[in-house]
Amino acid sequence: MSDFKDRLLKFYDNKIVDTVRYTEVMMDWEAPIMEKSAEYICQSKGDILEIGFGMGICSDYIQAQGVNSHTIVEIHPQIIEKLKEWVIGKDNVIIVEGDWYTSELSAYDGIFLDTYGDDNFMKLKEFTMDHANNNAHITYWNNEQSKENKYNFDNISWGYLNITPEPNNYSKIDSRYYIPRVINNVIH
């Protein structure tokens, strides 16, 4: 059982670090990835679910898309504090505190999963069966330097970005990020 939510995080201008595992939770070099991910999941401009707030980089890009609603699930108390500051003045944001997999959530037109220390990270496909609208656009943080369909989604395609990661202790990404592009084709 992951104890991530009990670990002390340290916040820098360019990253968040898990001080117990000496591992970055998120870094600002990921911004281009976050921008493309936000563009993909927000194509409908409908109801968007963002799982994991992190540094709020993707959240800013989602807001810039002018979506109908923007639900953000976050489990770590220190990040929740940051989220509550960030949300001020943003009327379309719904904050859900806790574990995304066991929280009461609706159905969405776009979903982005980007968690850390998450026991349920492999349950995304199962989750989308109940929480993704038909034609919902889904993506997730792809830590591999490859097109790995780790969730076995049926309707997946790939985009890519050439990037220059800063030194880190959490990803295998070297020079290219492969963006998973899933379209949910299950009609509820």
């Binding site: 992951s2 991530f4 980007d114 990270f121 780790k150 202790n169 990803s171 295998k172």
Partner: protein, 229 residues
């Protein structure tokens, strides 16, 4: 007997680390440990990376959307170009602090082995192996690292002394790794279980008081004398 002054490592010493993911193309613990040809990622210790990354680590945990093994080793290069004589004893001193988790002291075990020459490149990750998965000479009995952090002493065994003797006049490389998992037979358990991790201080840490160093003791009058020379 004559002892050397502490011999400090060259500046180009690095932490090397490697990632692999369970249940994906990344592999398992065995492939994470790799072999002599396995490349990892590396971190230059001159940036005081002992604070940012564990210098030695064997862990499985949940990180960013992955269930991942991670293995780190630290390498040290000593220039022994001016060293001559017949070695009586030797010791390697390394500041370490155990930050791992386990029910006993096994997770705090660190071993050192002779490493092959560093290219200062990602390819150095496997340099603790001489070929395939054959480890370099184990230089000393394992040390149990403290949980508060201090300078520890690895006292060279006879194999270690022989390996060091063989490298007098040239460079000598030491690799430090988890003595239970990496240079051991066990596999880090799943997230939330036992693992090994150590802060390590390098030459550039801030003061020489905690710098890694070698101390060599020579037999008297052995320099350039006797049948072996």
């Amino acid at each position: 007997m004559s002892f050397t002054e502490p011999i400090y490592p060259a500046n180009d010493l690095f932490v090397h680390y490697k990632l692999a993911y369970t249940g994906s193309s990344g592999g398992d613990w065995t492939s994470t440990k790799g072999d002599a040809t396995t490349a990892g990622d590396y971190v230059n210790s001159s940036e005081d990376e002992s604070i940012t990354y564990p210098g030695i680590e064997s862990i499985r945990d949940l990180f960013r959307n992955v269930d991942s093994y991670r293995c780190s080793r630290s390498y040290f290069k000593f220039n022994l170009g001016r060293q001559r004589g017949r070695i009586k004893s030797a010791s390697f001193h390394l500041w370490m602090k155990s930050i791992g988790v386990g029910s006993s002291t096994f997770h705090r075990k660190v071993k050192i082995a002779e490493a092959t020459s560093l290219a200062i490149h990602k390819s150095d990750y496997g340099n603790i192996f001489t070929s395939s998965t054959n480890l370099g000479t184990i230089l000393a009995p394992h040390v149990i690292a403290s949980e508060s952090g201090t300078l520890h002493e690895f006292v060279f065994n006879s194999d270690g002394i022989a390996a060091l003797q063989d490298k007098l006049g040239t460079n000598f490389y030491i690799g430090a790794a988890s003595g239970f998992y990496d240079i051991g037979t066990f596999t880090p358990t799943a997230a939330g279980g036992a693992f090994a991790a150590f802060e390590v201080r390098y030459k550039e840490y801030s003061s020489t008081g905690s710098d890694p160093h070698l101390i060599i003791e020579y037999h008297d009058n052995a320099v350039f004398m006797g049948a072996n020379f």
